[in-house]
Symmetry: C2
Subunit: 356 residues, 2 copies
């Protein structure tokens, strides 16, 4: 069976402000030392398994040109644009509709566009097994990451250690982001994995699951499918998407479905959720600093400085994040990275949209 | 007797980088909320006591135009330019030569150009008393500040509490910047004042003291005096200044002379020695921040942010100094303000003089 990929690239990525903006979200930024954007790395990584013409990108209409520019090899017809973001269930459903229409049926690997993976060969090996398993009727495959700490920023997947099917384990349930005590208990139990947000299934399988668990969305998708290729396509797409209730695939399907299996990945994974993650994925110098641009440091440690042309002098700093762009500068303590959204709220309230 | 003032304005003010540059040192910057520069405030403050045409400025040749621009009321002939800085003794000597030549003799109030004084009327009252006392033959008057903490960044003046002459006390000795333990002992003794760097004497008195304690400099000053008004003036000035050994008036004269008296000032004094001082002299908001420019703060306290046009977002900061200019940005922890000079050293070594 044909292997395809659906790469989700509609996110706004506010947590990397001021480098990320509404016009330039995280998936289109380079956060690594090689200069390639997150989405370019995501595509490059899977090419040994999925042909370029079988890769689909779901994104927002605003980013169509950016996707085409960064990924000129992806056929233009494979860039699927949501009129409005309604979380992952409608997004994945739209992809499944197009894949089912084009191929009859196919395995689809649903992948985030903005995560880091260190060991591509191990990842591919895992993904290949997941695709093979997904060919079986009705199987919903996922990839879970063995935790190295009790993270509270991730959802978790509880698996059944005594029910293995090849390399995969049967999934007991999906759980949302826990508090710290719960996360510690999860890790101690040795039965919980981080939910990587990667799913592998046949288009027919996920469409059946949507029909069962999210019938309203499924109905809308059917109407969209009926209009694809007609002059009404855009109009129907707009109407149905605006009518959808926002719904995540995790909550809407995975927390309800059975026949879910998880493969554990050990390929170095990071969701690069906010600026402090950059010190994990970029080279740090002997003082623990990640420094780019025109920078002079004096007695400065564990600090991320992302400069552009202007001289930045850092003196006596610890655990700070400094991001300098032409029109906006962020200075943030590492522990406060979660508060960057408050800056954006403030800008929004004051209608200073030029900075968003 | 005529009262004149000699305002010393040759300093480079590296400690306010990147706002202060070689081309724009601290005395020409506004560090207060009223928008006036330090030297403008210094002149304005003494006008009730000293006429504008009797105010002399000693500065570096590079700053002649800046002085004239900021102080258009000061006669151009009163702007005295050192060919090269040789510390305060030659600087004050040059001023005394010009004042003695113009007035025969006159009281001269020697004042730094870059200190803050909060209560001008009290300062003037003190200065008036000092000028009156300085008319007496051979008296070297100074102004000392009663310490409110054991500062290690100032020199101290030890006075004789039992030898008062009117409001003034006889000075026992001048001492250089102490270590913390010594400074604590000074304050506990109730016999030491901060050396404000303000001196009041007749031109004839200081020239006699220079003749006695710094005869080489005195000799050079005599040759300069002989050339003033001739076509050789600039040539002789250059030659003599280049030949001078650098010498401070404190070390070269005040630590050796007797007949020194100190008046204690209680007018709110700050030498504004480095960026942290700005939070003492500018308005702070309810979080202890001094914020100027296009700034959004979130959970930020006791931080100085001096912005210009660009947006600065400060998130989760404590005790930081952020100074943004068009071509250079400084981010410095309050405790490390003394290390800013290391940035300048680095820039000098790398020959990046455009930032100095």
């Amino acid at each position: 069976m044909k292997y395809t990929a659906l790469i989700m690239a509609g996110g706004r990525g506010e947590r990397f402000w001021p480098k990320s903006r509404q016009s330039m979200p995280k998936q289109f930024l380079s956060l690594t030392d090689d200069g390639k954007s997150m989405i370019q790395l995501t595509v490059e990584r899977i090419l040994p398994l999925v042909d370029m013409e079988d890769i689909f990108i779901v994104t927002n209409q605003d980013y169509r040109d950016m996707v085409h520019q960064q990924l000129p090899g992806v056929p233009e017809g494979n860039i699927l644009c949501e009129p409005v973001g309604k979380n992952t269930a409608p997004c994945i459903g739209l992809g499944a509709v197009h894949i089912a229409r084009k191929y009859g049926d196919a395995v689809m690997a649903v992948l985030p566009s903005d995560h880091m993976i260190t060991y591509s060969s191990i990842f591919l090996n895992t993904l290949r097994d997941a695709c093979a398993a997904a060919e079986q009727e009705g199987k919903l495959m996922t990839i879970g990451i063995a935790p190295d700490s009790p993270e509270t920023g991730y959802g978790y997947i509880k698996f059944r250690p005594d029910q293995a099917a090849g390399r995969a384990f049967s999934v007991d349930r999906f759980v949302e982001k826990p508090d710290l005590e719960t996360a510690k208990a999860y890790v101690a139990s040795e039965q919980y994995l981080w939910n990587s947000g990667m799913f592998i299934w046949k288009a027919s399988t996920i469409l059946q699951a949507l029909e069962r668990y999210l019938p309203d969305i499924y109905g809308g998708l059917c109407r969209i499918r009926g209009a694809v290729g007609t002059e009404l396509e855009q109009q129907v797409l707009e109407r149905e998407f605006r009518a959808f209730q926002p719904e995540s695939i995790d909550y809407g399907v995975m927390e309800k479905a059975d026949n879910i299996y998880v493969l554990t990945g050990a390929f170095g994974w990071d969701d690069v959720g906010s600026w402090p993650a950059v010190s994990r994925i970029k080279k740090t110098n002997e003082y623990g600093n990640v420094v780019e641009g025109n920078v002079v440091t004096v007695d400065t440690k564990n600090t991320i400085i992302q400069g552009e042309g202007r001289l930045i002098a850092a003196v006596g700093l610890r655990n700070l994040i400094v991001v300098d762009t032409e029109d906006a500068l962020l200075i943030c303590s590492e522990d406060s990275a979660g508060e960057i959204r408050k800056v954006l709220e403030n800008l929004r309230i004051c209608n200073r949209t030029e900075y968003l």
